[in-house]
Amino acid sequence: MSLTLTGIIKLVFGWLHIPEFLVQPTVMIVAAAIILGFILLVVLYLVYGLRKVMGWIQARIGPNRVGWEGLAQTIADALKLLTKEDIIPKNADKWPFIIAPIIVFVPAYMVYLVIPFGKGNGWVVQDLNIGILYVVAVLAIPTIGIITAGWSSNNKWSLLGAFRAAAQIISYDIPLVLAMVPAVMLAGTLSTQGIVNAQQGTWFGIFPRWFIVSQGVGFIIYLLAALAESNMTPFDIMEAESELVAGFNTEYSGMKFALFFLAEFASMFTVSAIAVTLFFGGWLPIHPSLSFIPPVIWFLGKAAVFIFVIMWIRSTLPRVRVDQLMSFGWKVLIPVALLNIAWTGLLVILA
């Protein structure tokens, strides 16, 4: 993105006689704005897609009124949320209440800094050499926002939801990170582009050398932990409608609620994108002979498959109980993830 982008901006600046030193800052800001626009577009159609897919799975039609086949439904919803009256409860702690949606949304946006959409440095905003560690660090921040939201609402449902969220997210953070470690071990680098590049080539000329081949267990741990981490069904006990009203966002309305919603759907794409990067060869084609299809199409296509799987899980599975959830994380996922690291270590040493 930024490679070609740098070229374009240099050209335009050359025509307009704008000094050279302004090129780099402009490129950075434009890249960040493109990513923001991408997130908004993706979320817009993920919400629509989720409603449609859930509708079809449950033998309904889903949204089909606003725009052609309901394609403008989410835009209408967003405009509605924008113009909704915003109510801050009487006894709420006002400033934490306002800041909480920001704390939840900003990290969900920041992760996109290292997601490799395509081949080369042009398709990732900045290929940080600590890529995966950065993802892990940033994905842990929204917990603070959720706790802030639950506490500052001064509502018992919110507080219960926030406490559950804290317990759940910190418990599933560990298996999530432990499931990412084997990919780093196999690739020998933390950079996301480096991990994708390490998966190039084929076994026996047919099977792609993706990390999923040796990391089936790791991938399942990752998927479960990531679903729990971004509070999606079947692990959405922190905002379980039938027991907690809406958990930490009970008191939120209007644009503040929309920001929580935005963050949730943005992280749905993030989870899929990271899964594709770590286990399914990122933007690599399934076989070298198919490399005439652009890498970015491969990447988005693979991510779309995972997003569909997440939607599928969401519309078929019931919610798990809170105590089952906690014991599953600590007593099953963490030991298995540690053993998976040991197995991968053996693989790296003996290969």
Binding site: T83, N91, L259, G345
Partner: protein, 124 residues
Amino acid sequence: MQNNYAYIALFATIGVAFTVATMWVSWVVRPTHKRTGSKAEPYECGELPIGNAWRQFKAGYYIFALLFVVFDVEVAFIFPWARVLRDMKSAGLGLFAFFEMMVFIAILLVGLAYAWRKGVLKWD
């Protein structure tokens, strides 16, 4: 390469700017009515709330938070090891590096088993 980390600050700034801007736009276009009656009460399914939510509350997660700190520090140790394992192997220290980490992980698993046995992994 020195721009690496400037991007993080830029993304944080743009993210905050975007959220503040949307909230501001919403503040401009939305109606504001006087909050009368029970409109501003916390929502408790239509009942008037009894008391405040900021009271003694069972913080069931604190023991998990303690365990989390232990395991998170461990993860911070595992990442550098995972990064250099291949390099260690090509330097001929592969088995050494592998067994070092296995000892570390075994100690942690013993700790987890202890916590399990003590019954702290139970949410109630």
